[in-house]
Subunit: 461 residues, 4 copies
């Protein structure tokens, strides 16, 4: 996952980038970083550190980031290769000047490219696929920054929304499939913001202009936008439907489509496809709130607040030896006995990946006195890993890849279990165009180069 | 405000205290601390630091807190006298041994007592009223720990729920009015937990036993409970109704009463008292969710998710000079245009104190296209400061102390404004007994000793 | 040991106190602290931290210490009760205002006083004897700051050089025996400096005025000095001779007597009393350099640099398992083979306490090829612990309390061993007056109140 | 300057490297780092940080550096390009494995090489010349680690003593001129140590084996040494004489020659060449102690300790506005009035670079009452910058490049000034072979490639 933002054409570039990152915090909580380029001194400064945006950046630190162009990145927590070297933005000095880069997505030929570059003597500072892009630019035999960027991007396969600064010029690009979002906003007082989601435009008071198009490479000089190469042929783009279903913030508009409206529609369809005889509908907060309301609306079953989410969950999970079962779930959620006792409950969640948290939630509901539990998912079974930038476990860990719906129902210990159908989901968002459904359908459109070459593939950004 | 917890009779005392604090995090985010007493070595260790519970405590730090009895405290953010010296637990060595103490509430004679103690040569380490209690114990002329504690507590006026350890014995006490909550739980595997709210019992798997009674002083030795003095006469107790209305977590049972049920009832009553001709009902999340659902239920107007709360708001508020109006509100909330555009909206909030945030929220709703905004408060006008431990501004800053309802409506810029009546609110919780309504009614039962003596009075815990 | 400094009557008080501490760094390396009182705001700020003076204080931190009066302290490394609470200055608010205090020396009735205060309900924040003084002042029944200070000081037995500020008034006092030094300097540009040694006057360009007299209590208001009570009767004072012999810096004048001259004279006398048939004289650097030069001068044996001291020895002593013998000595000293090989060597050291380091040094010299090693001490055998502020081991660990000179010679593995006689040493400094020789002679003049009452006695400051 | 160390063939490699760095601390105090390679896991760990060796490394950190081969580096304080990225060891993963490298010296064609590499697309992480070597190795078209190292080293011009690990194999090399020292030691219990000075062998109990020869490339596998290419022709080597004169520790043997003996001889020769009619000889401690003793010995004038050096000088230089003249000198040195008053004083220093410190010292001596000051330098006038790794100012700042001896005498304010002649100095060390005298004579043997190509040249390591 991860979130990215760039600001150009205003003397408060790093402050606005900070605010943008702040509103994208749901896309990653492990680390945050900003690079700013100050044309007055020709200096390119960077701050990056593990932690939340608001912890990493203080007024004093933002004051160390002067200049009219800035790039920011927030990183999703990753199991293995954490460490600050893997945090973005990447910043290097190369023969054309100071270059900085942030990337959201996952390249499917990163290992192939990296192997070739290492054999040519390139020295890597990190283990992230993003660094490949920087070496490709620095080693391009073509002349001029823009030709070099074009040369590098044209060698990439997979998902990438990237933002690059060279000196005080900003470049924005998306892969031809358009897997990850990237939107352009205009700040009324002057300035351009490009970010993963529209909520990052809202927070700085910017007006939505348009998406960076799939396959587009865009130059931003001050506030002037220039497309650097023609768009790819029609029909290719297929953005990630999981962003709509689960990942983006409900107040974001994605692919020109309201996330809240999409989830609400899925909830309503789910009520039709998977009805239940029950007293109340509750959501697994907060990502399933919209879908649960849709289910309630369509089914006529009352919407209730049966689960409370603890918003202060941190990195410390200290499990006492006398901890009861489902301890980790209890740290994050609490069931409201008053609401649940004696009731037949429909629980709506956005998706089911491993199933362990859901199973714990069901136990909580039972302990709080729920008479029946009917589990409903506002998306189809997740049966295939994502290689385009959504952090997912391997196929072995995906519960729907290994069990039937009835087996899952038994595993969760619920009275009934129902998924939204793939057709149902696609119907709900049909006016937003075509989508990547690989995690549901296994239909991987961008070639899995590394996998086919026998390399390990990561699925994180 | 603030939250407190104590654990006795288990070798994992500090771990369980940590978990209890974790679930009480909504009662204070400024600092957290734990003291543990290890009978094996006679040592009393303390960790306290600014920050969230999960940031302050790591497994390594909890390992530095061995022993079978532990005390914890979380502190609400205070404008002025922050600083680590003011963080709790207080820990001292006095002639009877190692004493540690945590306090939730606000003494109304703290300055009078402090002045007397300073004149006698007592050296204070902090500026918090809690330290007064420790000096009173240490200087008592009576014999034995329990007589000294009784001597000290009997000199206090105002609101106090306190937990004290002397060596490995735990004491719990509440003021005779019972302003702040304090509940007792029993851990099935062995151990006693005493905490501000029942959600701290739930997280460690403890079973609710009973409240510490108003005026009670309780000794806990291992898991054995002994009341040390008779309870005060009937009729005196009047716990804080604001805990029910706003402060406690919805999954907590307070004074034996479900917080969620109380708020739901207030929301329903509010719909009757203050109806509105509207299309949707939305809550100011998260504290008004229950009341808004109640309003929707009773009025039949659809409940919607029109405001999204950003849960990663930190301590850094860096306002860009081009920030639009209502910048701070926008950092915390985002309005969902899709839901609001063209709609007549009822917004339900729990209470209205200064009015500045509400005014910003109204602007957000208007900007997102709301056709009409009908503001509804699930509590009566707050016209009087609290001196018993709820952090409130001075009378000059309380909007309802200085404006009529119509003036407030105009200030907020809403189409209509309606408060729940005091009678209505009390009716909703009548089976839970008598309450302190000072902030609504000005009826201060515990004498305001410091105010009457001309001292400044603080209202924080 | 420890070092103290105070500055009054200049707007750069904390900067000058910092410089004074810097020059007193040889008196303690564990922690450093400064308190400054700013009359303009009535504020009393403190910085104290573990580490060297130049690491603890940065320009930014000194900027946090405005005001015209400042107190500083450096603390000697102590085995047990370290911890920041035990670092000075102590700072408290008491009924007469903001009071800060630093202390060099060791009280011999600290435990008696502490026990009495604790029984009266005083709450101690540290385990150092210095805190007793503060409580005595705060609890004095006399009226006014100066009467309270007098009341407190008159209850103390043992060694104390103290500096106290109450608001912007400075007080300086020494015990009637005058164990620890305290000198007054005048800054030509305006300002008074009072410090442990004259080298702290030199560094700030202050001119030596006089000692604070034994038994004197002095008020410093701005740059005006007033003696607050008559001096004690003649004949009582007997400052510590160990300061001259070992502890003070050679460029300091102590009790109006040059430390370098005293040590040089002891070295010469040692050559007469304990001659050796040898080729070269070397010092154990740096404290014995003066004495070794004196020995060389008087004996006519050439002075050489046979031992090099590593000045970067830090707190990390990581002993590899293959470390040879005398590893710790080798970390601190290196022998110069070129100088020593084949030579008969006189090694001069200032004193012999435990003997372990000296034994290691002898091995180093042998390994570097020394043909003969003649060990000479420029002071008599140390047979008795100091209870007046020099950090020494218990009697069990003092080698001269447990072995004859011949046994010590054999233990060190040297060809000959010779101590300066007590008479010889006293002759060398006879024009400087009477001295405390308790560590050599066992003649303790200030009563050992705690020892006689069965309390444990500390020997550190 | 800088110091380097490597350890191979023992399970305590990083501990011994730490001790070696500790004894080389005089060669640099800005930063310290160690890399260790653990063959068992194939992991290469690094710790590097600003600060003294003993502050950077704790037992816990050394435990993070397991393995049988380790490299260490300490860095001299540099004005400009500090920052952790410039700290060594450099560590990279390249196609042949994990490579780490440390370097002492200064390349005279670093900018030429760097420009070429950048144009080829190499991405640099630091601004130090050392990184060039790593890129040259990684990009070599030759096959195998050793051919690639040979390829890279053969492109370097200037001064380099380098230590490289690739996996668990260690390589050591010196430039053909042999500017910077590098010595090999054997640890009796097993293991090889290679370090800048012999004092790093002594501290780990290693026996001196021989120098790494000028132009040699050596492989160390476990404890087995193999020379990888033939030595360059005779006559070329000319190690730096300034290491002998000033930089190395007196207990080190350099180029097989005792530093102490060299300096002593220079001091004696200086007494012959530049006699003085005086009462005492004093050294500027500590680097001139040996030369001053030599002067005293030869002239018969008594050696005295007239200047005391403060060994705790840190990084904080906070100059009070009332600071007298020569404040910074006074922070570092104090004059002993007792020794100096009324005396005619010969002051011996090792060298005179800018002259500002010496001028301050002379003022100190005058203020302490010296009747006459005769300044003597145990080396010739420094008239040319060093480009081979000794940190020196530009020619504009070298006092002897811009003034006659008489002008310098007047500037320092001394009664007489005398330098050792170049012939005299070379005579004193003639049995140690040929030396680089560029800083005295301007005779630069290794080509100044960057200077001749118009690049800026740095003079630091």
């Amino acid at each position: 996952m991860c979130g990215i933002v760039a600001v150009s054409g205003t003397s408060e570039a790093s402050k606005l980038a900070f605010l943008g990152l702040h509103s994208l915090q749901h896309r990653g909580q492990e680390a945050a970083g900003i690079v700013a380029f100050d044309a007055a001194t020709g200096s390119c400064f960077r701050v990056r550190e593990a932690g939340l945006v608001s912890d990493v950046f203080t007024a004093a630190r933002l004051a160390e980031l002067p200049g009219e162009v800035a790039l920011g990145h927030i990183r999703y927590s990753t199991a293995g290769g954490s460490g600050l070297n893997n945090a973005q933005p990447i910043r290097v000095a190369y023969r054309e000047g100071q270059l900085a880069l942030v990337h959201n997505g996952n390249l499917t030929n990163a290992n192939e490219l990296r192997t070739r570059l290492v054999n040519e003597g390139a020295l890597f500072q990190s283990t992230i696929d993003t660094e490949v892009i920087v070496h490709l630019i620095a080693r391009s035999h073509r002349h001029g920054v823009e030709a070099q960027i074009d040369d590098a991007l044209s060698q990439l396969v997979g998902a990438f929304s990237v933002l690059i600064t060279v000196g005080d010029t900003l470049y924005a690009a998306r892969d031809p499939w358009g897997y990850r979002p990237l939107v352009i906003g205009h700040i009324p007082g002057g300035g351009i913001v490009i970010a993963s989601e529209t909520c990052a435009l809202d927070i700085v008071g910017a007006r939505f202009v348009r998406d960076v198009e799939p396959g587009e490479v865009l130059r931003v000089k001050g506030t002037e936008l220039t497309r650097l190469r023609p768009l790819p042929p029609e029909g290719m783009p297929q953005p990630c439907i999981f962003e709509l279903v689960y990942f983006a913030r409900p107040d974001t508009a994605l692919w020109g489509y309201s996330v809240d409206r999409a989830r609400r529609a899925c909830g309503r369809r789910l009520a039709d496809e998977q009805p239940a005889d029950a007293d109340i509908v509750i959501a697994v907060p907060d990502s399933a709130n919209s879908a649960a309301l849709g289910y309630s609306e369509q089914s006529g079953i009352a919407y209730e607040l049966g689960l409370i989410r603890n918003h202060y969950v941190g990195r410390t999970f200290i499990e006492p030896s006398q901890a009861g079962r489902d301890f980790k779930v209890r740290l994050k959620y609490n069931a409201v006995r008053e609401v649940l006792a004696g009731k037949r409950v429909v629980v709506v969640d956005d998706s089911l990946v491993r199933g362990t948290t859901s199973r714990g939630l069901v136990n909580l509901l039972r302990d709080a006195g729920a008479a029946e539990v009917h589990f409903r998912l506002a998306s189809p079974p997740v049966r295939h890993p994502c290689y385009y930038g959504i952090d997912m476990p391997t196929k072995e860990e995906l519960i729907a890849a290994n069990m039937t719906v009835e087996q899952i129902r038994a595993y969760l210990g619920v009275d009934s279990l129902g998924y939204l159908s793939l057709e149902g989901m696609l119907d709900c968002v049909s006016d937003a165009g075509s989508f990547c459904t690989a995690c549901f359908s296994g239909d991987y459109r961008a070639p899995l180069v590394d996998r086919d070459a026998g390399f390990a593939m990561s699925s994180h950004c």
